[in-house]
Amino acid sequence: MNRTADVIIVGGGIIGNATAYYLAKKGRKVIVLEGSDNIGNGGSSRNGGGVRQSGRDPRELPMVMWGIQNLWPHLNEELDADVEYTQKGNLRLGKTPAHLKILQGLTDRATACGLDVKMIDAQEVKQINPYLSDEVIGASWCPTDGHANPMKTTLAYYRKARQLGACFITGEKVVGLQKNGGKLRRVITEQNTYEAEKVLVAAGYESRFITKTVGIDIPMIKQKMQCLVTEAEPKMFDQMLGTAEADFYGHQSHHGSFVFGGSSGQEGYELSKDGLISNSINVPCICRGILKYFPDLSKAKIVRSWTGWIDPCVDGIPVMSRVEEVPGLYLAAGFTGHGFGIGPAAGYHLAQLICDETPVTDMQAYRYDRFKAKI
């Protein structure tokens, strides 16, 4: 097994896989090291599949809008796979004047960045989605948002990168990085050593333990989120959905099942913080959230629920950056629960950054050294 490459990527999620694909396409020799047994085992295949611009931090908008205009519409052809991308808009729903105020704020900040998103009233909401509860009094509507299948997208990038010669090794847990002559050179795993001149660490929350070995740390935490899926139902609607209070989000997949995610507000305070175990508080809470907006789904049967980690960064947007103190080190982590929709664009930009090209949209907002104390 060859253990040297032009670029080593630590983490086989959507960010690592997409970057590996765009680097392989540029002719770079890439090795991807994934610590778990499965490609795409973290948030990449556990999320609700949103491909959204609305509701995002304005600093993230240029990159995600570029991705939705330039990558997502023809990702199927690019990757020779069906990633189930559906661009039929996002409704963010509100039931109270306080909700509408939250939505108005999000909408104003997004339109200032040039995004086509607007507030609509109850009647317009009903025209877009007639299945919603009569208690919905308004929503924000972004027609260019949508959803895709996160498992298929993540694995499609893996499959295509592998076809182009990128080497993927699973079960290869990285424990540290080592410099040589002031530059990053070696990636140490539990059992082996790999070498490259450039290393991208894209390992979610666990990136902290890896970059710490060369003195770099990103302020982020690890938070549990849960999702559920129903049996296949006749087709009802195409939009991606969310609410002002973020009590649930989701969509109906091409397969017919409804995929919904959400939280109970208890996250981060569990007795045991380890292990991806679904609990009996969260899924019922998501169900109550859904039924408040979709009473018609009361008899839909839930077949499965699962848990994933998100990695909230202290200021709510990711780090995607070259690290100056450690020449050769690149970092992409802290996606804060919105890493899937931006994933293809992030991979495209990171490949450009690693190849010393000028990224298609400016990446200054994502720098690793932007964090400051409050006073």
């Binding site: 097994m1 610590g35 778990s36 047994d37 499965n38 490609i39 795409g40 085992n41 295949s45 498992m151 298929k152 694995l155 893996y158 499959r159 592998r162 080497c167 993927f168 090794i169 699973t170 079960g171 290869e172 847990k173 539990e190 059992q191 082996n192 129903t230 049996e231 397969h255 679904s278 009996s280 899924v283 019922p284 169900c287 109550r288 859904i290 039924l291 789904l297 009361s298 008899k299 839909a300 049967k301 839930i302 077949v303 499965r304 629920s305 699962w306």
Partner: protein
């Protein structure tokens, strides 16, 4: 500890078989040929096969086809069946209506 698994190792070419049309996962109607093809696409674990094809994600949650899928993946990838971890079992045990699960506090 996880097993180091090189996804570029040579497992030989995909050779079409006479029973490739046989349905293995009845809930999601996934055939033997699709499962074999997925292994050649790089899906070397039961979890990846499941996420890639949906087999074992239907009403029975793989209670019928799990063993069959495992033997096909093992045969195609050259892995010993015992080394292939089964997919994670997920709650609820049986499909439950949303209105009933919502009553759980």
């Amino acid at each position: 500890m996880n097993e180091v698994n090189d996804r570029s190792r040579d497992i030989g070419p995909f050779i079409p078989g006479p029973d490739d049309d046989m349905i293995i996962c009845r809930c999601e109607e996934i055939t033997r040929g699709e499962i074999r093809r997925a292994v050649h696409d790089g899906m070397f674990t039961i979890t990846e096969i499941r996420r890639y094809l949906r087999c074992g994600m239907g009403l029975c949650q793989g209670q019928t086809c799990a063993k069959l899928v495992k033997s096909i993946v093992a045969g195609e990838s050259g892995a010993a069946p015992g080394t292939l971890e089964p997919a994670t079992s997920r709650a609820p045990m049986r499909p439950v209506e949303m209105q009933i699960l919502a009553d759980e506090m």
